[in-house]
Symmetry: C2
Subunit: 179 residues, 2 copies
């Protein structure tokens, strides 16, 4: 099981970045995202998307992060630009255990550095927790997230030239041209 914990989410300022974090968590193979701040709107957005595109991804908001961490049985990854290089650490990550991946918004208190099994950086330049989460999950799952079958009501068919979407109607997929 892979759980992503988003801490320090500010409802107004971070709404789109946290939404992107949730979508990346889902698309790149995590099972759940937990957001420390209560935010019904983001929960609704993600649940609506899951209903359309499928899968069993879960989202909870208003989760107490310290309480959750203290009860967590498994490894804890903290993604931070100050951490140790992903290339170096990824081999040491125990893949037999459940994994909690913590991503912060702005400054992260030392508590999270101390609680992490590994503090991991995706490059040592400032960029984005959205990108860091994607690259980390991609490295961890060795690209296998791309094979995941979401069996959604909407399925995108890869195309060289245009939008091609299949829509499930009465149990069968039909083409839903959108280009």
């Amino acid at each position: 099981m892979i759980v992503v914990l988003r801490i320090g989410h500010r409802v107004s300022r971070d709404k789109r970045i946290t939404t992107h974090c949730a979508l990346v968590a889902r698309a790149f193979g995590a099972d759940t995202i937990l957001i420390s701040t209560k935010d019904e709107k983001i929960k609704h957005t993600i649940k609506a998307l899951c209903k359309k595109f499928g899968g069993s991804f879960a989202i909870e908001t208003g989760v107490n992060p310290k309480k959750f961490i203290e009860n967590w049985k498994g490894i804890i990854i903290h993604l931070t630009m100050y951490g140790d290089s992903v290339e170096k650490v990824i081999k040491k990550v125990d893949k037999t255990q459940d994994m909690l991946v913590i991503i912060g918004a702005e400054k992260v208190p030392p508590y999270y550095y101390d609680m992490a099994t590994h503090n991991i950086s995706i490059g040592s330049q400032p960029h984005s927790e959205v990108a860091a989460l994607a690259i980390f999950l991609d490295r961890y799952l060795e690209g296998s997230w791309q094979e995941k079958d979401f069996s959604g009501n909407l399925t995108i068919v890869p195309s060289k030239t245009r939008k091609l979407v299949l829509q499930k109607e009465r149990g069968k997929y039909e083409q839903n041209s959108r280009s």
Copy 2:
């Protein structure tokens, strides 16, 4: 040369997502980001960051995307969730040419699909242009972006346990403890 072209940027709604796109472009080895909408604030933010963390990354806003594309000599990659799988296409991308990478916000007109050398998807689930750009550049550069030396006034030293930042003072680096 790698140029990222961000189209459809809405100054108020997209400011943080586009900022993350610019930071990812810089950190993952692109040379320039062009933003179709005029936005002095985002330009200022990125320039200030480059001054601190180094490198020769450039940013321009208010760029006419069609005019730019029509004058572009090189290949054009359009990142879209409707595109052909990155795993399939990445081998076909001509690495000897300059590369323009187009990322949209919301709906992208068919024009860009038509002009692209390759329409590429990073998975076929909805997620984030920030993540898509990071994964694409990571695949294209085969991880070598991590070795790039930015020679900034601030340099982050990878650490297992804490924030460790070196600051250039009178030409020499000194530790600037921030934890």
